[in-house]
Each structure stands twice: as structure tokens, then as C-alpha cells.
Symmetry: C2
Subunit: 451 residues, 2 copies
């Protein structure tokens, strides 16, 4: 063995066994919700031209994985599925689409594996592109969000805010234009840091203490979980904010959204949170973040998204407004795994073949296995030809087989094979029924239907 | 718009629409075959430590994509799924497993997109690891190969050979030890190049012309499709080869394989081809390559694999013999797409909602959509609230909806909404049945069952 380190790269992991079965179940449920909304899947390369990713992620651009320059184009691993989608839209003739994509994305971040924070992780994205009536696609994205977590039986809060309200608030209290995004990104840390620390970051970024205090008063208003209408009423009546044009427009949109949330019967999941800011540069309207209701789960947000009306225009002459959500499957899996009940005892395969005796039986076993599989029946058997039948029946049970088919030398007719069927976990071969070879497939099918 | 080139990296592509639907169908069929053999899925990171990939791919190592050194570990994109599987095996306690993996792999090769040769492409791998009875796992891998192409309804030839026969032949005719792999790789090109060209490459690699001619005579023996038993008979009777220990052992294994192929009823797919060599270094026994029977399809091999008994030992103190196959899904898709019949007209979604009139209807539509989706019914509707009903019914048809549900202001009860059901593609709203709101879900379910 050469002297190489045998491990996976930092922040990545292998997946096998129950973990991957659970992941496939989660994918299937999310896919079903996406398809119930008549949405279309796309796939894009795992790396993009580096220039496509440049200037899209603000402070987080430093986390992008670059490919080595080996001659030819400069490329980088995708950081999310949103920018590739905008690039795809810009290249296609599509002007309106509900699209979804499931794929891995890459961030050179500090990993925290127990909390589901990885350098390679899956995102499941749904985005609704098109110049459509106000808040109609937005509420559909929030419906999808609610339906995904309903399907996963996971109780969540969807925190929402509006970039116009946030930016208008900054404008109204006198945040200089060039500090809007940095201050916004400081506000976004209020779910992890205390107000004192956030204020300190604001001052370090060059904001006056008295302006920071005004922001603090506003964004902490919804801390206790003030109601949606109540928050709208406040924004409409506050002396400073009510005069700001951006706030006004944001409030108008949020009022319409509230009507639609109520009609769609998902208002109960929503929490209007004035401190929600989201880090990414490209959001322009509604923003949201999903957290588990059970606050003992320290995984952070498990889905997030928002409206981004100008991203496609960075790649194309014609802009297409978009709104979308990204589900953080690895964090969701971390939660589901923690609460997982013991695996169900449903059979994993249909038939286990048990043969013991002459070498002729090996070939009879192969022929039978092939015949059953051709009929769509899953089949497995012990690969050691000479292990005794009771041991083989143990394997049938531990592999979750529904039926065992036994092959044995026929004592009465030398050179012939006798076939028997047994319902697992029965182990007494005496209790097996002898079946004629010609009727074996039919008999197996009949018993599987009964099982 | 900034001055960036909006395209995908060379040799990669986006997938959308029918192409991705077809791919998902193909994945589902392959997965079903894998599962019918009771095999377990695993997933590994898209990049590995660079040292893991070193010295595994012979001449092709130059095609590996490296990640840039941004501090930390040196990594590279995976070149196949086999080496990561061997690395995974070495790290786990597993000593015997049937595993499958579906994932993208990366090669900095010259792309030929119309023939399905890409720099980023999917592989679907099945591998059988474990110290098991001779040829038992090998024939199961070949069964899986046959069953995958049966499931895809694609007629194929599985060309097989044995590294011991090939290496023994080289030894018997006097190929120097250090030239065995380079000469083997020259032989492998006989399916793309003439014998004259291959011989020239051998001589350039330092082989004497008369030795090259001896190899040429042997490897071209099976050109016309000589039978399996006939080829075995030849190898047993040839004066030079029959004395070589490696050839003898290879012939013995191939004889056993032939018995098992016949028992498994897949011998008809197999062609014993003495010119098949496979490029990779790590094969040690049986090797195979699948080509479409229809030779007008210029895609090359669409699946390939073999036995590799020493690869795990490169990562671990204990070795585990393995045998496996890799399906080249992108090439398979290229073939399936070319012969694709027009898409079936099975409905893509269940219900299309049509509303026209007061703003109240928008909210009624949302409430109804949510109620239907909660019951597992897929729903969509036009997003322009004011498009006339006949136009909306056109959309219902073009989206493949089974039913349309119409919402309209109730002329007899101001402020109330009237609901109707129509079977698409019927467009005459007069023919729709008026349904009571309270009975709508049940009625939709009833009609979908009938559809």
C-alpha cells in the first residue's frame, strides 16, 4: 500500500446505507411537490465560467472554488443554483417558466458537519421566472415551501421581509447609500448575534451610533412575534417610515401578499420579521428564510430565497423578473435523521434463493434468478455455494426477503432438482411447499401479491 | 449588461425539457434493475484528494481536472466512479457489497457532443465487491448489463475478453514485460484503427515487427465473430498459447463463465473478442465493453467494465476483489433520443384552473389550488388574471391537463363564485357541469380516476 492519506476532502462526505435511502425519499417528496405545481426540471454543469459567478455573491465570493488553469477557459464550481439558472434563462428563449433543479453546490466555508454545514451540499431549488402579476408567483413559491415541509412532516416558521422596506428604512434614518448593503448584512446577523455586537459591527463599518440605534429600534420591533397586520399598521403609521416611498411600496406589496397568504391557507406559517435581511446582493423584493419551529435544533435556516428581478439582466439585454426558494437538503436530513424512528420492516427484496448440493444447482439458481427478474421480481442469494440452508435462510431474513425459494437435489430422481417455497422468516424447510418448476414463477407472483 | 461571455464551459451542457424527462426515465429503469439485484446505493464527493486519483488511469491521467490550490488540501474532480468506490471500500468495514452509484464524472478530453462525448458526463456504475466463488459475481454483472439494455429496449453486443489470456498471449509471443500495458493499449484501438496503423503504433512503442505480426494474427482471429466455444477450443489447441500458464488459467475461467452465461440465458449477447483490451491499468481478469448491434450508431461503447482485484489494496492493507460495469448514460441518451418517437400525450398535470372576472376569483383560485394539491393533485393555472377563458383553455390543453376547473362570477348571486368542470380538450364552457364548491374535490378525484 503506497503512503497515501485515505479520506474524503475536508467538508465533504460519503453517503451510504439508511442515509442515502432517507435522502432519496426526501428528494422524491420534494420532486412530487414541484411537479404538483407543473414545474420543469433542468440540469446545468457543476462548474461555470468563472466570469459568470463574479460579482454575484458580495462578501461570500471568497468562498468560491476555482478550477486550476490547465489551459483553456477559467472555471469555478457553482456556488448556488440560482446564478446558473439566470445564466440558463439568458441563453434560452424562455420568458416564463416554473423550473426546479436538484444538485450539489460548493462553498469553501468552515464546515460544521454535525449541524449539516458542508463544503459540498445539495440544494433543491424552485424558481418562478416571468413578468407576472404582482405577488402571484411569490405566493406560489411560499405555497411550495409550505407544501414541502408538510410533505416532510416538519413544523416550520417562514420568516419574511421585503428589501424595499429594509432599504427604505435605511434611507429614512440616514444610512449613506454606499453603506446600505454592508449594514443590511450586519442586520442579517441578529439571529446569531446580540444587538450590542451587531451595533458594534455597524459602527466598525462606519455608521454613526445614533443611526444604528434607530435601526435597532425598528428591526427589533418584530422580535416577540408581532402579527403581520399589526406590523403593516405600524409601518403605515410610523412618522418617519410612512413618508418613505420605498417603504410605502413595500407595505403595499406586503398587504397584497397577506391577502394571498390567507387565501392559500398558509398565513399561519408566516412571520413578518423586520430583522431578516439575507446576505446575497441580488435580491430586490420579498425575501424569506425557513427555520424549524423546534428551536432546540441548531441547524440555522433550512430553506431560503427571495425575489431577484435584475439578475438575468446581468447576462442578457432583456431582463426577466424571478422569485425562488432553495431547500437545504443536507440540513433537513440532519433533522430528519435525528428524529428517525427505527427502519420499517417492509421487505427490501422479493425472493431469496437457497441452494445447497451439487454444482448443477448453481446453474439452476442462475436460470431461475434470471427468469424471476425478467418478470420484474427482485432476487438475491448467497454467493457461497456451499453454505448450509439454515444459514442461507438467516441471510434471507436479514436481507428483508419476502419469500425464499429452495433448490435441492431430488432424492427420488438423481440429477433432477426439486423446488420449494417458504415465507420468510419461516426457517423450517420441512414446512416448505414443493412446487413444480413449470409453475414456479406464477406461484411466486401469487404469493408476493398476498404478502 | 457587463461584457461577459454567456455560455457553458467547453464540453459541458445544460439539460431541460424532453431531454431531462428522458434521462430521468433512463435512470429509473437502470435503478430498477440494480435494485432487482438487491444492490445498495452510495454517493461520494464530486472531488477527491488528488493523491487518491494518482497512478490509477495510465496514459489518461492527463485528462484529470485539478482544483486550484486555494490553501488546504489539493483536490481533483473524479475521473470515474470506480476509484472513489475502491477508496470508500478501503475506508469502510464492508467486505462484501453489491453497490451502485449514479453521478457525474469529469475528463478534460476533446469533446464530440453529437456522439455523446462530453467533458462532464453521467456514469451509472454497478460493482460487486467480495472474495466470492469464481465467476459468480462476474456473471451477475453481465446479467445486470443484459437486463439494463433489455429494459431500455436497446439491442447490444457485449464484447468480452480476459486480461490473463491477453497478457499470456503477449508473454507467449515475447513482448517485453515493460511493453505489456502500452502494447495492450495499442491493441485496444483495433475497433477504431486499421491493423496497419495499430502495428505502426506498436513498432513506435518499441516492439519488433515480427512479434507485432504474431499478436495481429491472434487478436484478429475473432474478427468475424467466431463462436465462444470455438475460440476456447482454439486457445486450448494452439501450440504456443496452450502452453502458457496465464492463458490456461484464463481459458479455464472463461469455460466456467460460458456455462454460467448459458444458465443465465444471456449467452446470445456475448461475443468473445480477443482484440478487446480496455485502456485502464487496474483490470486484472474478465473485461467487457458494450456496443449497440446497430453499427450505424457512431457512439462507440455505451458501457464497459471488468474485474479489478488489486485496486482496493492500493488504499488499504486488506484487499477486496471487485468486478463492475459502468453505463455511459449520455451516449445511451444520444441513441435513445435519435430514435425517440413523438412524446406521448398522457396528461402532464391533473387540473388547470380557469378564472376570469373579479379580483375575488384570484383568491378563490388560490384556495382551490391549495386544497387540490393537499390531496395530491397537480394543479396549474394562467398567471395573467385577465386572459379570456378560451385562451386559458388553450393553455390547459398545451400543458397536457386532464381536467379544467372554471371559476366565474355567479350572475344570480352577486359576490359569489360558480365552479364548473370540463374535460380537456373540450373548450366550450357551455358544456361544463356546474359543481357545488363543497363537492368539488370529490368530483375532481372521481373524474381523474376515470381519465
Amino acid at each position: 500500500m503506497p503512503n497515501v492519506q485515505v479520506k474524503v476532502p475536508k467538508g465533504t462526505r460519503d453517503l451510504a446505507g439508511d442515509a442515502i435511502v432517507l435522502r432519496e425519499e426526501v428528494f422524491a417528496k420534494i420532486r412530487k411537490v414541484f411537479k404538483n405545481h407543473n414545474s420543469n426540471e433542468i440540469d446545468t454543469p457543476v462548474f461555470e465560467l468563472k466570469s459568470i459567478l463574479t460579482d454575484k455573491y458580495g462578501e461570500d465570493s471568497k468562498l468560491i472554488y476555482d478550477l486550476e488553469d490547465q489551459g483553456g477557459e477559467l472555471c469555478a464550481l457553482r456556488y448556488d443554483l440560482t446564478v446558473p439558472f439566470a445564466r440558463w434563462l439568458a441563453m434560452s428563449n424562455t420568458r416564463q417558466i416554473k423550473r426546479f433543479q436538484i444538485g450539489k453546490v460548493y462553498r469553501r466555508d468552515q464546515p460544521a458537519i454535525d449541524r449539516g454545514r458542508m463544503r459540498e451540499f445539495y440544494q433543491c431549488d424552485f424558481d418562478y421566472a416571468g413578468a407576472l402579476d404582482l405577488m402571484i408567483p411569490d405566493v406560489e413559491v411560499l405555497c411550495i415551501t409550505a407544501e414541502v415541509f408538510e410533505a416532510l412532516d416538519l413544523d416550520v416558521t417562514i420568516k419574511i421581509n421585503h428589501r424595499l422596506i429594509l432599504d427604505g428604512m435605511f434611507e429614512a434614518v440616514g444610512v449613506p447609500k454606499d453603506l446600505v448593503r454592508p449594514i443590511s448584512s450586519a442586520v442579517d446577523k441578529l439571529d446569531k448575534m446580540s444587538w450590542v455586537e451587531v451595533k458594534k459591527e455597524m459602527e466598525e463599518k462606519g455608521l454613526k451610533a445614533e443611526i444604528a440605534d434607530k435601526i435597532g429600534a425598528y428591526v427589533r420591533l418584530t422580535e416577540g412575534g408581532r402579527g403581520f397586520s399589526e406590523t403593516l399598521d405600524f409601518l403605515r403609521s410610523d412618522e418617519v417610515l410612512s413618508k418613505n416611498e420605498q417603504v410605502k411600496k413595500g407595505v403595499e406589496e406586503m398587504s397584497l401578499l397577506l391577502r394571498y397568504l390567507t387565501a392559500s391557507d398558509i398565513a399561519r406559517y408566516i412571520s413578518f420579521d423586520l430583522s431578516l435581511a439575507r446576505g446575497l446582493d441580488y435580491y430586490t423584493g420579498l425575501i424569506y428564510e425557513v427555520v424549524p419551529k423546534d428551536t432546540s435544533l441548531k441547524v440555522g435556516s433550512i430553506a431560503a430565497g427571495g425575489r431577484y428581478d435584475n439578475l438575468v439582466g446581468m447576462f442578457s439585454k432583456r431582463d426577466i423578473p424571478c422569485v425562488g426558494i432553495s431547500f437545504g437538503v443536507d440540513r433537513i436530513l440532519t433533522i430528519l435523521k435525528a428524529r428517525q424512528t427505527p427502519p420499517k420492516s417492509t421487505p427490501k427484496i422479493d425472493v431469496w434463493l437457497v441452494a445447497f448440493g451439487s454444482s448443477l444447482l448453481v446453474e439452476e439458481k442462475m436460470a431461475l434468478a434470471r427468469q424471476l427478474r425478467k418478470a420484474g421480481i427482485s432476487v438475491d442469494s448467497d454467493t457461497k455455494a456451499d453454505r448450509k440452508p439454515p444459514k442461507q435462510l438467516d441471510l434471507a431474513k436479514s436481507n428483508g426477503a419476502a419469500l425464499a425459494v429452495l433448490l435441492e437435489d431430488d432424492a427420488e430422481a438423481p440429477g433432477a432438482v426439486r423446488f420449494k417455497i417458504l415465507v420468510v422468516p419461516e426457517k423450517d424447510a420441512e414446512k416448505a411447499d414443493v412446487i413444480d418448476r413449470a409453475e414456479l414463477l406464477e406461484e411466486v407472483q401469487r404469493r408476493l401479491d398476498l404478502a
